[in-house]
Amino acid sequence: MTPVSDHLNKTLSKALIKSQADKSQQEIVIIHPEALLDVAKVLKEELGFDMLMDIAAVDWKDRRKERYEIVYLFYATQSNKRVTIKATLNNQNPSIASLINIYPAANWAEREAYDMMGYHFEGHPKLERLLMWDEFEGHPLRKDYPIDKRQPVPVLRELL
């Protein structure tokens, strides 16, 4: 049972790299990163995946040639179905289109992926750090960030 990739095969066959099902028969679809916006539109408008649950960023470091991967988790509230979309990003400049115009929920998730992993999201209106402070240098969840590296203690920002 692979309804999502079957549908994508018909409408957007160029976007698809591969699809598989995990142990709980949930579909995982691997796509070309350039096709993300097209795929997301189809998911939302034709397949009823109206909710973006989360975005995850993976750094495979030496275990893969293309080390950066991004994972989108979608949910269809009517049919109670889930689908996982994955894409591999460029080593030098991990960059992909922002989903913000299709799924507004992507806003902070993408900022977090930028903050922690240094992914770039084209079209994001405010791609700034979400968790670390502004003076922080580097992206701490990248596997080559030194685990015991310390940075200067931030100063208090006035809220008002």
């Binding site: 670390m132 402070w133 701490p140 960030y145 685990i147 015991d148 590296k149 310390r150 940075q151 203690v153 931030p154 100063v155 208090l156």
Partner: protein, 170 residues
């Protein structure tokens, strides 16, 4: 009141006690510490045990827990302090009136604990001065009480609890 008090029994009987001003002030300070709990993680749960009946911090005069730094003189930092939290902690400390004391309760507040990573301050003494460090993850309530003890003997060197450095000299 304290070993140094003298009673001029000839004239006043036992109605007057003489001592030195600094001794009276320190006596008052050390026996009425007003703690402000700065609890950010699991160690703060242990503080609840410390103040409630079984361990009863009020036996040592420190039961009047304040939730405003302006009304307290003992800052109890209990829990993990991360880098973004550090300037907030410093501001809270600066808002307290002198004299003031700080206890770092638990491994996290003392040294970062096992959070040896990019986000956690490696001990609150990077941003504020600390008087007593309490080891443990979390420390038992007795250890928190012991920290109060230690602080009392620091405030008044002649304190009766476990002597102070000058306890015998006086």
């Amino acid at each position: 009141m304290n070993q140094r008090s003298e009673i001029s029994s000839d004239f006043f009987g036992d109605t007057v006690v003489t001592t030195r001003l600094e001794d009276v002030i320190n006596w008052g300070r050390k026996n009425s510490l007003w703690p402000m709990p700065y609890g950010t993680a699991c160690c703060a749960i242990e503080f609840m045990g410390t103040v409630s009946a079984a361990f009863d911090i009020s036996r040592f005069g420190a039961e009047l827990v304040r939730f405003s730094p302006r009304q307290s003189d003992l800052l109890l930092v209990m829990g993990t302090i991360n880098y973004k939290q550090a300037p907030v902690l410093k501001k809270i400390y600066e808002q307290m009136c002198d004299p003031k004391w700080v206890v770092a309760v638990g491994a996290c507040a003392s040294s970062g604990g096992f959070y040896d990573n990019y986000s956690v301050l490696q001990g609150i003494d990077e941003v504020i001065p600390v008087d007593v460090y309490v080891p443990g993850c979390p420390p038992r309530p007795e250890q928190v009480l012991d920290a109060i003890y230690k602080l009392q003997s620091k405030i008044d060197p002649a304190a009766f609890v476990d002597g102070g450095p000058n306890a015998n000299a006086r």
